[in-house]
């Protein structure tokens, strides 16, 4: 990639200087070209060294048995074979997709409902919007601890105290293998909801009011307008948010790590997502090659999700 860039620069320059001699105008072109590559020099170096080279290195490392101590030895696809045979990986894979498959539709449904009605509210509009948006600005590592406190057993756990008030028995939340994943999911949905509400509202505002007026003249009811006009026209916004939220859930880490610090990903690995497995493999057991293979799998999954978005949006045209 780097050599291609240099060829591009070198290819431009001699042509410029050669033609520069007859006319002053062309020497200005050369000068401008020098400015261009002057502006781009540091960024091109940055992207090459900090982005592209590490990307290829990650692919390479995924085929080695590197462990920080001994020099890396090429092992082909052994890491991938090991990974796909590893029951822990499949458990983590299932956890990660549980976050995604339940978390994304749930948070989008809530966000859309809030945005749809908030869009019509004028009284204290900005204030209510701020209430929904504020959690988005918080630090996951900090708020995970607040939620962790909320989920404690009585008398200290706020949620269990509220449940007791309405006569529901005490729940174990993050202490149980059945509920922990969903308890963490709630925290993640809570943190991301404000962003989705704002984006949905922007999407709703972008629909021309003439569409609604025409529909009303045609005698469509609220429900029909929602189904036939609002939702179809909101499709690009929805697709964007589905992808954005899916990627966030596929990469979930901060909340899980901080809500289960005594046994990260616990209890019994029931909340462990892929990124936490990567973290533990790489920086807990220093199996760097094996961890690199896991990151390549994550990359592949994210790539598929992104390509799906492009494909769905292309279908529309």
């Amino acid at each position: 990639m780097e050599s291609d860039n240099l060829r591009g620069a070198a290819g431009g320059r001699p042509g410029g200087t050669a033609a520069a001699m007859p006319a002053d105008r062309l020497s200005m072109r050369t000068k401008r070209l020098l400015w261009v590559w002057g502006f781009l020099a540091i960024p091109v170096l940055f992207y090459t060294v900090i982005r592209f080279y590490p990307t290829f290195q990650a692919f390479y490392l995924s085929m080695t048995n590197w462990d920080l101590v001994r020099p890396a030895k090429f092992v082909g696809f052994a890491n991938y074979v090991k990974l796909f045979k590893d029951p822990q990986f499949w458990k983590v894979f299932r956890n990660t997709f549980t976050y995604l498959i339940i978390g994304t539709p749930l948070s989008l449904l809530i966000a859309f409902t809030v945005a749809f009605f908030l869009d019509r509210v004028r009284f204290m509009h900005n204030f209510i919007r701020a209430l929904y948006f504020l959690p988005y600005l918080t630090t996951a590592a900090a708020m995970a601890w607040v939620w962790r406190w909320f989920y404690q057993p009585p008398p200290i756990g706020v949620i269990n105290d509220v449940l007791a008030l309405i006569g529901i028995p005490q729940q174990p939340f993050i202490r149980s293998t059945d509920q922990a994943l969903f308890s963490i999911m709630v925290t993640a949905i809570w943190a991301g909801l404000g962003f989705q509400v704002i984006i949905f509202m922007a999407g709703l505002r972008a629909i021309p009011t003439t569409f609604y007026e025409a529909a009303r003249i045609d005698g469509l009811g609220e429900w029909a307008i929602l189904r036939k006009i609002t939702l179809p026209l909101l499709k690009p916004t929805t697709v964007f948010l589905v992808v954005f939220s899916s990627i966030a859930f596929l990469r979930i880490f901060d909340q899980v790590y901080n809500m289960t610090t005594n046994d990260p990903g616990g209890p019994l690995g029931s909340t462990k997502p892929l990124v936490l497995m990567i973290y533990q493999t790489a920086f807990g057991s220093y199996a760097m090659g094996y961890a690199a293979a896991q990151t390549v799998v994550l990359f592949t999954i994210l790539l598929i999700v992104s390509l799906l978005q492009l494909w769905i949006l292309r279908e529309k045209k």
Binding site: G11, P43, A58, V146, V158
Partner: protein, 280 residues
């Protein structure tokens, strides 16, 4: 859900009041973790079990003891330094590259653009192992530069700025050339002031992203002096085990700066989110 026209708001009907009330209650639930956090941070250890939102005898003792500890101040300043530096770097380089790609014709332009854009597809998680290797070889582990270097430029910022520089009229730039400004001056003095909304959106996003960043700082720092606030808070909370009033105080200190920034800049932030969301 009522048959009221969506955009007329002159008439007040029971349905609207119900909707408003439900939205308000939902909003209260949304900020309740923040309310409880601040409330508990103002309580003494023996009041923590009393779940009243307004503390019986509010005290700043927790804040004083957390800040007197010294570590928190250090982590706070570390985070501030890292987030501000990375934000400045992004505003400078992302704009410069975005401008160059938007306003100059040169061979390789499309290639550079696609190459930068393609890095959006690469998740950080895939790069951390090579970054860690690079940092350990170059002695960047456990240093500010080590925390900051991966984020000094971003493809997202470059793309955002390019989109906005494209709206700057070419004759402004030509006029500045005629006036004898060099290309750097044209960018800095003519083009940059015209894209301040995009620039402020980029600044807000970069700052927020770096202020709350956890994964890479957790990996690259090992000595407590270099922790950023989220990493420090995490280790602090583990160490406090069940002293919830202390943990809540730490969490409150980590949350306050962004809340203050939000209250001051609410309009710009919401607009910035919309802008970035729709362009990205």
């Amino acid at each position: 859900m009522t048959d009221t026209p969506a955009l007329s708001h002159a008439n007040i009907r029971p349905g609207r009041i119900i909707i408003w009330t439900l939205l308000f209650i939902g909003g209260l639930i949304m900020i309740s973790p923040l309310l409880f956090m601040f409330s508990t941070s103002l309580k003494t250890a023996d009041q923590v079990y009393d779940l009243r939102l307004i503390p019986a005898a509010p005290t700043l003792a927790n804040y004083i003891s957390v800040l007197a500890d010294g570590r928190f101040m250090r982590w706070f300043l570390n985070s501030m330094f890292v987030a501000v530096t990375v934000t400045i770097s992004n505003c400078f380089f992302d704009s410069l590259v975005g401008y160059t790609l938007a306003k100059f014709e040169f061979r390789g332009r499309y290639f550079v653009f696609i190459a930068i854009l393609s890095t959006l597809m690469i998740p950080t998680e895939m790069l951390v192992i090579p970054w860690y290797l690079m940092s350990s070889q170059l002695g960047w582990l456990d240093s500010y530069w080590g925390i900051m270097f991966p984020g000094m430029m971003t493809a997202f910022g470059t793309f955002l700025m390019k989109q906005f520089f494209e709206t700057v009229p070419n004759n402004f730039i030509e006029a500045a050339r005629v006036d004898g400004l060099n290309e750097f001056q044209i960018w800095w003095k003519v083009a940059m002031p015209l894209v301040t909304p995009a620039l402020s959106a980029l600044a807000i996003f970069t700052f927020l992203g770096n202020w709350t960043a956890f994964f890479w700082p957790l990996i690259v720092t090992t000595s407590k002096e270099l922790y950023t606030l989220p990493v420090g808070l995490s280790s602090f909370a583990v160490e406090q085990s069940i002293q919830w009033e202390m943990i809540m105080t730490g969490a409150a200190i980590a949350t306050l700066p962004t809340l203050i920034v939000f209250l001051v800049l609410q309009r710009y932030i919401v607009r910035g989110v919309m802008l970035a969301g729709l362009k990205g």
